[in-house]
Amino acid sequence: MKKMLSVLLAAMMMVSLLAVPALAEGDQVLTVVTWDATTTPYLIAQQEAFEASHPGVKLEFVDVASQDYAVKATTMLEGGDTSDVYMIKEIDNLINWQAQGFAAPLDTADYDMSGFKGTEVNYAVDGVQYAIPFRSDFWVLFYNKDLFDAAGVELPTNDMTWDQYAELAKKMTDKEKGIYGTHYHTWLSAVVNWAVCDGVNTLADKNYDDLLPFYKLYQDLEDNGVCMSYADLKASGLHYSAAFANGNVAMMPMGYWYVSTLIGYNKDGTCNFNWGITAVPHAEGVAAGSSFGNLTGAMINAKSEKKDLAWEFVSWLGGPEGAKATASTGARPAWVSEDVAAVMSSVEGFPADETSKGALLPSAVAMEWPVAEKVADIKTVVNEEHTMIMAREITPEEGIEEMNERVAELFE
């Protein structure tokens, strides 16, 4: 009995040690809910730049684990959380939060949104803006320059068709040396999202026949050992960031966000080869430089008590000033302008060649997933069939038929 009491007392003392830290005096504090707050370079840069240009305001990041961001943020909002700003990881987050009444409508009457090139529409519902994008990632093709030089093969260009890309990958594959011509991450987006680059097809248009050529291309490459097999990748959990950094992969289509990761790897020595980027290959009849991408944005909590201050931050974040802070770390902001592009290419560690610079200006960026009815259910169905196709449990034709059928059922 005595022992238990003393343990209890010790425990209660520990609790008192965990008291709330002292508040800063004088400064106004804006709480921003986001993910990976301490390890994401652009967040740190944004915080510094904003606090510098807005004296008397401090930003406090509420850090949520990236994998569980949607669940935790939604739960917090559901419980009545009063944090001022919530960052948007996927467009679905905002659509849900707006429907649930957690997003404050934004007054954008006097706000210049021309630099967003129309992408801000994805965050608007019934003509009212609910969030401002501040990052727009699109997909590019990464390549290992040293491997190409060593093999004496011509470098990829900003204007390649998918067939040319496949040829190049096959040329670069060297089984003896353990070199893979290309690397596909296990996501649906890495393998077949290219179908939406023509700006006509989407992943929610209930017809998936346009995915067939891409599945066939992938399987041809996998069968010839040009890329690592899906089954192995899925089981081993090898992350694409490590796969490319290992130095035995010649090319990899991936999102632009990987640029800042690679720059970081170069700095800390994890990866020590020369690399570059080009525009992602395009299908016949589609313009060179077409890609697809995603948005990251910020919204204001309807329950925030500092909505004006929050709007100052959110509008700054997406606008040209915030964009420059974001670009300085190698990330691609949503605001497109000459100034911003100049900042992007002048980031230390960014490849210096003209091709890479050219890749910074895609001709068209479609959305990875459109804002559509029942898109969450469609995503589940399409992803399930995707895993079946990739695991070779069914042929691409069968898988696509299933997709068509099951998605049609959703709307009956």
Binding site: A70, A231, E393
Partner: protein
């Protein structure tokens, strides 16, 4: 006890019944109050939620829909058109049910047998402490680390497949990417992880087997196997009941291992009831439907538990 004495005792008990009930409630109170407030109330909310449509937001957004959620998850319209095969082959709930039941039916006996065998072996052997700690390790480690590790070991050309090939069986496919073997990778990891846990339970129970009984059996000439069947096993009945009920419940609720190792795939080969619930609640934000699926789970588990419960009462001496 003679008949007269027995009647006297029963009479006494009748008079004290109210006092006994109060005393019993006082024993229950500390645990029950905390349980009621923090667990029972939310569970009842969840049960009621299955009759509503709620996609998040204010409580005012709740809409009463009666049994509509159940109609949706059981795909009643489609089943009426295309028959029951549709439910089990193409409806999410049917597939999840199939997988979960298959997984439970295999894992429960497998784990119990392994756990009991280990407990018997490690009861009085030399070096018992070392082995017990080793077998308990899997339960104690972080789920992420275990799943990542096992996933890696079950790859094509991985160590497990190499052992299988060495045994002469021609199988070399990655387990998690194969629709038939994916569920076996979950089963394997679960049994591996849980046998140490239930082994500890059985070890504790074995301490309670009266030595006199064992010695009497030996004196009577019973072989070790007969001792086990007729003395040990019956003494372990309460524990076996506990183990089987808890195992059925935890098998029906399997989530972590599936989410990390296969994510329900390939396709829907390892889609389980709770991964389905998680999906409905947190990805598609349909809390009402998620609750309805939980109710289906609850009903099935309760049915199984009640059957086990009544058979326990029949054979016990209380």
């Amino acid at each position: 006890m003679s008949q007269a004495e027995a009647r006297k005792v029963r009479y006494k008990m009748g008079k004290l019944e109210r006092k006994n009930t109060l005393v019993a409630y006082s024993f229950l109170a500390p645990n029950f109050i905390g349980f009621a407030v923090f667990t029972l109330v939310p569970v009842i909310c969840a049960i009621l939620l299955s009759l509503f449509e709620w996609n998040g937001g204010d409580i005012s957004k709740l809409k009463f829909v009666g049994l509509d959620n159940y109609a949706t998850i059981f795909a009643t319209k489609k089943v009426a058109e295309k028959g029951i095969a549709y439910f089990f082959n193409r409806a999410d709930l049917g597939i999840a049910l199939k997988n979960t039941v298959y997984y439970t039916v295999v894992t429960v006996p497998l784990t119990i047998v392994c756990a009991l065998a280990l407990a018997l072996l490690l009861n009085k052997i030399r070096g018992a402490v070392f082995f017990r700690t080793v077998f308990f390790f899997p339960y104690v480690s972080s789920m992420v680390a275990i799943c990542v590790c096992w996933s890696f070991m079950l790859m094509k050309d991985g160590p497990i497949n190499q052992i299988i090939m060495a045994l002469g069986i021609d199988f070399n496919k990655g387990w998690t990417a194969d629709s038939t073997m994916a569920i076996w990778s979950i089963i394997l990891v679960s049994v591996w992880r849980n046998m140490g846990y239930y082994m500890v339970l059985y070890l504790a129970a074995l301490q309670g087997v009266p030595r006199e009984l064992m010695e009497a059996a030996t004196v009577d000439g019973a072989s070790k196997w007969q001792q086990f069947l007729h003395v040990t096993l019956p003494q372990l009945k309460p524990t076996t009941f506990f183990v089987s009920v808890m195992m059925v419940i935890s098998c029906f609720k399997i989530y972590d291992v599936v989410a990390i190792m296969t994510d329900g795939g390939p396709g829907r080969a390892t889609k389980m009831l709770v991964t389905y619930i998680y999906d409905e609640a947190f990805v598609k934000v349909r809390y009402g439907q998620a609750s309805a699926i939980s109710m289906v789970l609850l009903v099935i588990v309760l049915a199984v538990t009640i059957i086990q419960f009544s058979s326990e009462k029949k054979f016990s001496n209380d």
